[in-house]
Symmetry: D2
Subunit: 377 residues, 4 copies
C-alpha cells in the first residue's frame, strides 16, 4: 500500500475492503512521505519493519529485488490525487498490478500517459469507482443491457453532500484540506471528488457516453479555492440526455448518490442510502422492488453479494467487490484461465481516462459562455 497512513480516510477503507474476503494480505507499505509516519503506521498495522518503506520509489525498487514469490503482487495507491501518477506509472512499469483510488490522476494529460503505460505493461489495473461494486448497480446495468427498458432516453444522477458547507479547510480537517487545494486535487474540487463518481455511475449503468455538456460550476463557501458545487446538463450517445448534480454544500446531506434512468418502456432508480434495493418502474404495471441476495437477480448481482436477501451489505462490501473481482481476475491469470465476465467487471484505465476528461471538460464548460461543450479527450 502506498499512502493511507494514520489519519487517512480512504486508506483504512481500502484495507477493510482488501481484508473482507481473505484474498489479500497486507505485507508492505510506504504509508507516508514522512518516513517516521510511514514506519509508525506500518507498525500499527503489524507489518514487518523491513517492508515498511520511506517512499514509493524505495518500495517498488526493493520489493522488486525480492524473489517473485515473496514480493508484493498488487499495489494499492491511496494517496491524494497529485500523487497518483508517479507511483502508478512506476508500479506498472515494474510489473506490479495496481489498484488506484479515483480520480485517476492530477490531469487528463497524466491520465492519457498512464493509459499508454498500462497498455504497454503486463500488469493489470483497477480504479476504485466504488459505487459500481454494489450488486444492485450491477443489476441496473444488466437490466439496461437486456433491452427491457427499451432505448434509454433520460438519465439523472445526483451526489449531494453537506460536509463542506462551512470552511472546513480552515479547521484541522485533513480531508477537507487536500480536497480543496488545487495543488493536490487538480482543477476540480467537488467535480473531481464526487462528480467523477456520479459520471462513472451514469455511463456504467446506461452503457452510453456523454458527448456534450453544459455546466454551472460554483464555489459557494467564501474563501474556498475550488468548486464545491455544480450542476451539468448532459447529452448522451444515442440521443438521450441527462442531468448530473454534485454538491458538497447541501447542508444536512450525507452521501446519497442516486441514479435514475428512463427508457421507452420503463425506468430504474438506485440510491446508496438503500443500496440493496433497485426500483424498476414500468409503463403499465407495478413498480418492482428488486433486492440483492435474491434468487431472481442477474448473475452479476449474485456474484457481488455474500449473504442472502435481507442481510444488508454496504459500502465496504461494494468496495471489497472491486478488490475481490480484481483478485479473481489475477488468480485466473495465474491459473492460465480466463476469469468469468462477472469477475472482469471492475473499473479500469479507460474509465479513469474518461473520468479525467469529465473533470477537464466540466470545468471548461463552467467557465464558458457557450452553452454546449463537446466532451473531448
Amino acid at each position: 500500500m502506498i499512502g493511507g497512513g494514520q489519519g487517512a480516510f480512504i486508506g483504512a477503507v481500502h484495507r477493510h475492503a482488501a481484508a473482507l474476503d481473505g484474498l489479500y494480505e497486507l505485507v508492505a507499505g510506504a504509508f507516508s512521505s514522512n518516513p517516521d509516519t510511514s514506519r509508525a503506521s506500518g507498525q500499527l498495522l503489524g507489518l514487518r519493519p523491513e517492508r515498511v518503506y520511506g517512499s514509493y520509489e524505495e518500495l517498488i525498487r526493493r520489493e522488486k529485488e525480492l524473489p517473485a514469490d515473496e514480493r508484493v503482487q498488487v499495489l494499492s495507491i491511496v494517496t491524494p490525487n497529485h500523487l497518483h501518477f508517479g507511483p502508478a506509472k512506476l508500479a506498472l512499469e515494474n510489473g506490479f498490478h495496481v489498484i488506484l483510488d479515483k480520480p485517476m490522476t492530477f490531469s487528463l494529460a497524466e491520465a492519457k500517459e498512464l493509459q499508454a503505460v498500462a497498455e504497454a505493461s503486463t500488469a493489470r489495473f483497477c480504479l476504485t469507482h466504488t459505487y459500481t461494486g454494489y450488486p444492485m448497480v450491477k443489476e441496473a446495468r444488466q437490466l439496461v443491457a437486456s433491452g427491457a427498458l427499451g432505448a434509454i432516453r433520460k438519465a439523472y444522477v445526483e451526489y449531494p453532500q453537506g460536509w463542506l458547507s462551512t470552511f472546513e479547510e480552515g479547521s484541522a480537517n485533513k480531508q477537507a484540506a487536500w480536497r480543496t487545494d488545487p495543488s493536490r486535487s487538480g482543477v476540480a474540487g467537488a467535480m473531481g471528488d464526487i462528480g467523477t463518481h456520479a459520471f462513472n455511475l451514469l455511463e456504467y449503468v446506461t452503457g452510453l457516453s456523454v458527448t456534450q455538456l453544459c455546466a454551472d460550476i460554483n464555489t459557494v463557501v467564501p474563501g474556498r479555492q475550488l468548486d464545491d458545487d455544480g450542476a451539468v446538463l448532459l447529452r448522451l450517445s444515442g440521443g438521450a440526455s441527462g442531468v448530473l448534480v454534485a454538491t458538497q454544500v447541501a447542508a444536512g446531506e450525507e452521501n446519497n448518490l442516486r441514479l435514475r434512468v428512463y427508457g421507452e418502456q420503463g425506468g430504474l432508480e438506485w440510491q446508496q442510502a438503500d443500496a440493496n434495493t433497485l426500483l424498476v418502474k414500468w409503463l403499465d404495471r407495478p413498480t418492482e422492488i428488486r433486492r440483492a441476495g435474491t434468487g431472481y437477480v442477474s448473475s452479476f448481482a449474485r456474484h457481488n453479494a455474500r449473504t442472502p436477501a435481507g442481510h444488508p451489505e454496504g459500502y465496504l462490501e461494494a468496495f471489497a467487490n472491486l478488490y475481490r473481482n480484481f483478485a479473481l481476475t489475477l488468480q485466473a491469470d495465474l491459473a492460465g484461465t480466463t476469469a468469468p465476465p462477472e469477475a472482469l467487471d471492475y473499473p479500469g484505465i479507460a474509465e479513469g481516462v474518461r473520468g479525467m476528461a469529465f473533470i477537464e471538460n466540466v470545468i471548461a464548460s463552467g467557465r464558458s459562455e457557450q452553452k454546449w461543450t463537446e466532451f473531448t479527450i
Copy 2:
C-alpha cells in the same frame, strides 16, 4: 364554472375542491363550447337548466342581470390554456371574482394584459397552483422565511411524469390531445403544464426569484409538436442557484413533484408522494420529520390542515385549500374586515405573470446557443 364538462379532468378536481369545505355552491356554468355538452353536463351536476349557458359570454352577461344576491360570485375557469384569457378578462371587468387554472394564459402578453385588468378591477383573482396549498409546503416556506436555514444557496425542484412516454395524443386521450397541441397549450408542453408548477413551488418556498436560466428542452416522443421534457439550470436572486427538471417521458413515474432547498445551516425536502411530511436537515444534528396536523408546525401549516396528524390529506385537500383561502378572503371583504395572512396566502396574478414569463423564457433559452438567458417579463 366555465369549462369542465364531461370527460374533463381538472374540472372535476375543481368541483371536489370547492365542495370539500362547504364554502361554495355550484349554481351556474358554461361547461363546454358545445351547448349540448354544456347542457348535459349541467344536468348531471344537478344545476337548474336556466343557469347552464352555451358560452362564457352568455353566462357573464346573464348572470350580471340577476340581482346581486342571486348571481354567481366567483367564476372558476377550467378550460384549456387558450381559453383562459377571454373569460377571465370579461369576468374581472364585470366584477366577478375569478379562480383560474394554470398556466394563467396562452402567452405572456395576455398575462400582462390580464394583470392590468385585474389591477383595475374590484374583483379578486386566484390562480390554482395546487401544490402551494399543501400544509407542509406552507411549513417549508415559513421555515425558510424564519431564517433558520440561513441564506439559501441551492434549490432543486423536479417534476417527473411518465404518462406521455408514448404518443398518447394519437389515441383518444383528450388530456394528451390539447396539452400537446400548440394551438391550445401555447409555446410550451411539459414546461407549461408541469414546469410552471415546479417553478412556482421553488419561488414560493425559497422566497427568491429566478434571474437567469439555461434550458435543455426536448421533444422526445416522435411526432409530438411540443416539448415533453426539459432540464433547466437556474440562477436565483441573492446569489443562489438551482436546477429544475420537468419531464413527461420518465416512464413509470406518476406525478412526484419534489423540492429540496439548502441554506447555510440546513436544508429541507418535500415531495408530493409523501405530502404530509417535511424533512428538515441540519448541519450537525438529526434530520427532523415534521408532520402535518401536529401542534408544533407554523400557523400557516395548521391553518391548511383539517385533521390531526396521522390522517393523511392529499391533492384534493391541497386544492381545496386554495378555494377555502380564497373564500375566507372574500368573506372578510364582505364583512369589511381583513383576512388573516394565512387566508391571504393563495397564488394570484403576480404568480401567473411570472409563470407565463417562465414559459417564454425557458423555451427561448432552449432554442438559444447562448448559455444564460435573462429572465425577463
Copy 3:
C-alpha cells in the same frame, strides 16, 4: 346530522366526507343535546333555523312530518358511543337511512337489537369503518379473494397511537374525556376506539373470521378508567392465526394503522401513512408496489379513487368513499336498479355486530386467566 356540534372532531370529518362528491346536502341537524349549542352550530353551518332541532327525537318526528321530497333522506349519527343506539333505532324505525359512526353501539346487546331493527326496516344502514374505504384496502381484499396469495396463514394488524400517553382526560380535551369514560364509551377504551378498526380491517381484507382470542389488556396511564393499550393473539377461521395490537400510549406515534397478511404464495402490506400504496410480496419474485389511480388495479380500487396515480388521496377521501358508495346504492334503489358490487361494498350492520362482539370478547379475555377465549356473539 345528529351530534357533531362545535368542537366535535368526527362531526366535521363526516361533513367533509359527505360534501366532497356533491352527493349530499346538509339540510337538518340536532347537533347537540344542548339546544343552544345545536342552534349555534346549525347557524354556523348555514342551515335554516327551522331545521335545527334540540334533540334527535324532535328531528325525526318533525322531519317525518315534512313531505317526502323535502325531508332528510339520510341521517348521519356522530355522537359518542352511548348515544348511538337511540337515534339509530328511531331513525331506522321511521324509514330514514342511517350512517352511524363506529363502534356501532354501547354494548353487544344493543348491537344485536339494532341488527333486528335494521333487518325489519326498509331503510339502509352504513357504519363508518373508514379504513376499508381506501382504494388500496379494496385492492388488498380483492387480491386475497382472487386466491393469488394462496390460503391465508398469518395476519398482523396494528394500530399505534400516542395521543393518550399522558392523562389528557384531566385537561380540556373533550375527545379524551368521553373516550376514556366508561359511561360514554362502554367497556373498552382503546379496544373500542381503534381496536375495532383494526379488527374490522383484518376481517375485511382476509375474508376470515376471528374464532378465538387471547388478550393482554392494559391501562397504562395512572388514573385512567379504561384500557389504553392491548395486544391480542388471534385464531382465524380456516386455520390461520394472527396478532392485533392497538395502543394509545405509543408516545410519538400518530395514527398509523398497518396490516400485513401472508398466504402460501405471498403476502401484502398496507399502512395508512402511505395509503395509496399496496405492497405485494411473492415467494420468488420482486415485491410489487401497487398504486392507487393506476390502470392495473381491480375495479374496486378504481371505483374508490377520484384522481390518476400520483395525486395522493387520503383519510377524507376514504371516508367520502363510504358516503359515496352509500349514496350510489340509495340512488340505485330509487331508480329501481341494483347498485354495482363496488358501490355495495360499504360496512353495514353485520360488521357492527362483530365489532361489538370483538369489544366484549377481547375485554373478557383480558380479564381471564384462561388462554383462549371463544369469539362469541
Copy 4:
C-alpha cells in the same frame, strides 16, 4: 474454527466478520465431522494442512501442545446447535477463548452447565447475537439508558422471514434440513433460530427482563417437525409489556428484524432493512432520524462504525463488531489494562443462558392452556 466447512452459511459469515478489521488470522480448523470435508475446506481457505483437524477434540488437544505463541487463541464454533456445547466446554476448560454461534446450546440444562464452566475458566466467551452489533442498536440502548424516553412502557419486536414457507427441508437445502430437525436444533425451530435474536434484542435495548410470557406457537407447513411460526405476549420487569413475533412462513419477507420501544416521553424504532437509521419519536416534537457515522451519536454508536455517515454499513459489519470488540477486550487483557465499556459491550454467557431459557419457556407456554407462563431459568 470449528464447523463452517464448504456449503455452510454462517461459517463464511464468521470468516468475513473476523477478517474485516484485520484483528484475527485464521490458522487452524476442524471444519467438519467428515475429515475429508474438513481437509478440503482447510485447503480452500489456505490453511497449512497440519493445522486442519478431523474433530474438535483433536484440534483442541493438538493446538494446546503447541507453544503458547503459536497456538490458536480464539475458537469460533459455528456448528449446528447440538454441536455447540461439546466444543465450547472443552475449549473453555483448556483456556481457549470462545466465540460461539447462537443459540448457545441444545438445551437450557447444557447452557447452565456451560455457564458454570465459563465462570470457572480464565478464558473469555462471546455469543454472536449479531444484531446488537449494529451502531444504531447501540444508540437505541444508550437512549433508553439515558432516561430520555422516560420509563419504558411498551416494546414490540418482530422477526419475519419467508424462506421456510414451503417444505424446504424436503429439498437439498442443508440450512433448512438441520434447522427443522429436533435432533440438531433442539426443542424449537423458528423460536430458536430467530426468536432468540428478537428476544435478545428486546432485552438488550430496553434493559428490561421478560418475566412472564404467553405464546402461540405454530407449525404451519405440513410435515415440518418444529415450530416455524410464533407470537408471544410479554410481561417485562418494571411493569412494561410487549409483543414478540417470529415467523419463517411470512412469504415474501426477507429478514427484517424490527424493534419499537415506547416510554413515557417518546419512542424509538429500528429495523435491519434500514440499519443505519434510528427513529426517535417524541410526544410533542418532530421525530428525529439519527444516523450512524454522525458526530452527534453516543460513544457506543461511534465506536461501532467504521465510516462517516452516508456510507452504509450492514450485517457483516455488525457481525464484525462482535469480533472486533472481543479482540479489543482480549488485547486489553494481554496488555494488562481494562478494555473501555464500548469494547466490553458484546453478548456473553448470561445472554446465552437467557436465550436458552426463552426457548424452553416459550415452547412450554405454547403447549400450555394457562395464559401466563413464568419466565424461569
